[in-house]
């Protein structure tokens, strides 16, 4: 049981990194509270697994410190960190039985056999492995093997945290859901810090209380699934979470109004306008999720006229592809709501419209 803190951590696989791009992990400070269920979400190659391997000690970071409960553990090898890690592809000891596999981490630290059998049986029960205990691990199916791998992480009751590195990649879709539930159950039962690496937003949001979204070696946002959806802290989070991703349009301020290209945006919030005028950067964008755009089929006050390019019917809802000036937008229309044919009149509710400067969200003063 431990709180894990990463302090000014950075890592590069190169001998002498010079530019920011040379780093797999750019300098970051981050805290994982004891007992939390966390997900580390991001595309392939963003540094998720690197970060996980640094926490478990399989990798030594280029700079910065890893703290477990306030103690620096950088010099400790994985064996001494009391960390369990489950890998993407199941690792089982082929020649051993399932029972011996589960008992292995305990026997390595000279645990008494009565304790071993007690723990193994408990974990086997949680993971539905009891009927397989006497079988050799070699001929199990992929998901059974992965359960055995997870089980080896769970048998030790002294672990500081369990790290999962995309553990459900090899599992059949219908079993994924079951195993994810199982993990959640285990988390509630044992109260262990769990960090779950994945590139699947659904997997992340069903498992974790809080998700850290990684992009280009940095944690760009750390928050609950709802926060990530409603208030993405970075344009990447906007794109990556939600389907389809968030709409972004470049804006500029001119004589008291905001423009996207030549289109005047009817924004009433003065603080938003001021925020834009105060920016020195010219990378200023407004972001709004397709779900939050209000779509009308007839002109209404303060709505902008846009052209309907395509309608995608997805059963219970439709996705509209729209063109506003020269910006492409997507909007979601629920079943039963009027579906515009050629012209859609759209309105951006200000509560759901975010300002992004240099890709990061800037909160308006009046919110």
């Amino acid at each position: 049981m431990a709180e894990i803190m990463l302090k000014s951590l950075a890592h590069s696989y190169l001998e002498s990194p010079r530019h920011a791009e040379d780093f797999a992990i750019r300098e970051m400070t981050h805290v994982w509270q004891q007992g939390g269920a966390y997900a580390l979400l991001g595309p392939s190659g963003c540094g998720k697994s690197t970060l996980l391997n640094i926490i478990s000690g399989l990798l030594v970071p280029t700079s910065g410190e890893v703290h477990f409960d306030g103690n620096v553990v950088n010099p400790l090898p994985p064996e001494e960190r009391n960390i369990a890690q489950v890998f993407q592809f199941p690792v089982v000891y082929d020649t051993m039985t399932v029972y011996d596999n589960l008992a292995f981490p305990l026997r390595n630290v000279e645990t008494s056999e009565t304790k071993v059998s007690e723990r193994v049986e408990e974990v086997a029960d949680v993971l539905d492995l009891t009927s397989l205990l006497k079988r050799k691990a070699k001929n199990l199916t992929a998901d059974e093997k992965q359960k055995v791998s997870m089980g080896r992480g769970l048998v030790r009751d002294d672990v500081s945290a369990i790290l999962f590195d995309e553990p459900l990649t090899v599992i059949d879709p219908h079993l994924k859901w079951k195993l994810r539930r199982k993990l959640k159950e285990i988390h509630q039962r044992f109260n262990i810090t769990m960090i779950y690496v994945t590139h699947d937003q659904l997997e992340a949001s069903t498992f974790a209380d809080k998700i850290a979204v990684m992009y280009e070696g940095q944690v760009v946002q750390f928050g609950s699934p709802r926060e990530l959806f409603e208030r993405p802290g970075h344009t990447f989070v906007g794109y990556f979470i939600g389907s389809p991703g968030m709409n972004f349009m470049r804006v500029r301020a001119s004589d008291g109004h905001l423009y996207s290209g030549d289109v005047l945006l009817p924004i009433t919030s003065s603080s938003l306008y001021e925020n834009v005028t105060r920016c020195t950067s010219d990378n200023i964008q407004l972001g709004i999720r397709p779900e939050f755009i209000e779509v009308h089929d007839t002109p209404v006050e303060r709505a902008l006229e846009s052209e309907v390019i395509q309608v995608q019917d997805l059963g219970t809802y439709s996705i509209l592809s729209l063109r506003l000036g020269n910006v492409a937008l997507k909007a979601r229309v629920e079943e039963g709501e009027p579906l515009p044919a050629d012209k859609a009149y759209i309105h951006f509710p200000e509560a759901w419209t975010g300002l992004y400067v240099d890709e990061y969200r800037v909160e308006s003063g009046d919110e």
Binding site: L58, I83, D94, T95, F104, N108, K136, R152
Partner: protein, 293 residues
């Protein structure tokens, strides 16, 4: 379900059958032919039945050679397999060192058999050989021409030097094929070095070791050129192995009938041992499978 039966596909194996006939069956049948007859010249021959086989099986010299042969094969296997695994474990995994060590380890494999014999013959000579002179200098009266123990030890040493690299190379390739995640998982599980070897590396080496042991058994059971050049089978007949007895019989004495019978028995022994070994290994794996289900 009306399946159309057409057996003409069997014709497609004819070329293969022809090839095997010329490469294996016909030469073998010639040997069989000689083994059951006493051939004097192109027109005179007598059918002898199993006479040559009985004579060969009851020949005390051949029995002794067979025992020596088994002793030799098992000795070199017992040394080369563990040593080969050990070397493979110690070899560097990447970088230029890996390539360099790989070349160095492979070197003995590239030397022709009788050259190996000659090298060791000179190496062990008491007057000019490094090993011969060296051992004598240390006070040990080393001589492969007078001491059967020395001759044996030297032949075993020579074979180990020549062929351990094969086992090492096979194991090295087997070890490289183990995914890094296994080692990482073992570290997380706090496994000792021995456990890593016992439960990860050794199981993953089973397949290459089966091949290695089969190859090495067949090789060593047929060993000829190296001891022939080094000791000539002596002192006495202490290092005369089966193939040398066979050569003496067939070439020097021109006893074609008994030699043919001997060749067949020799061939059957190798076939039998390989079959028994292979079946045993396969059964071991199958038992594991059945034991579970």
């Amino acid at each position: 379900m009306n399946k159309i039966r057409n057996n003409r596909a069997w014709l497609l194996i004819l070329p293969m059958l022809l090839l095997v006939a010329f490469s294996a069956i016909i030469p073998l049948m010639t040997v069989v032919n000689y083994s059951v007859q006493d051939v004097f010249d192109a027109h005179t021959r007598f059918f002898t039945g199993t006479e040559w086989f009985e004579a060969t099986l009851n020949d005390r010299d051949l029995q002794a050679a067979l025992l020596r042969q088994f002793a030799f094969s098992f000795t070199v296997l017992a040394i080369e397999v563990p040593l080969g695994i050990g070397i493979a474990l110690l070899m560097p995994k990447r970088g230029w060192q890996a390539s360099a060590v790989l070349v160095l380890v492979t070197l003995p494999l590239l030397i022709p058999w009788n050259v190996v014999g000659s090298i060791w013959q000179i190496f062990t000579r008491g007057d000019i050989g490094l090993m011969g002179v060296g051992l004598r200098g240390m006070g040990y009266g080393y001589s492969i021409t007078s001491s059967a123990v020395d001759a044996w030890a030297t032949i075993v040493l020579m074979d180990v030097w020549h062929w351990t690299p094969l086992i090492a190379l096979l194991c090295y390739s087997g070890l490289r094929a183990i995914p890094e995640a296994y080692y990482q998982a073992a570290r997380i599980d706090r496994a000792s070095k021995w456990s890593v070897f016992r439960y990860i590396q050794l199981p993953k080496l089973t397949n290459v070791l089966v091949i290695g042991i089969l190859l090495r058994f067949m090789h060593s059971f047929m060993i000829y050129a190296e001891p022939f050049v080094l000791t000539g089978g002596g002192p006495g007949s202490s290092t005369t192995f089966l193939s040398q007895s066979l050569t003496t019989m067939a070439i020097a004495q021109q006893d074609l009938g008994p030699s043919a019978a001997f060749s067949l028995i020799y061939f059957l022994i190798i076939l039998l041992v390989c079959w028994v070994f292979y079946t045993a290994i396969m059964n071991m794996q199958k038992e594991k499978y059945h034991g579970e289900s």
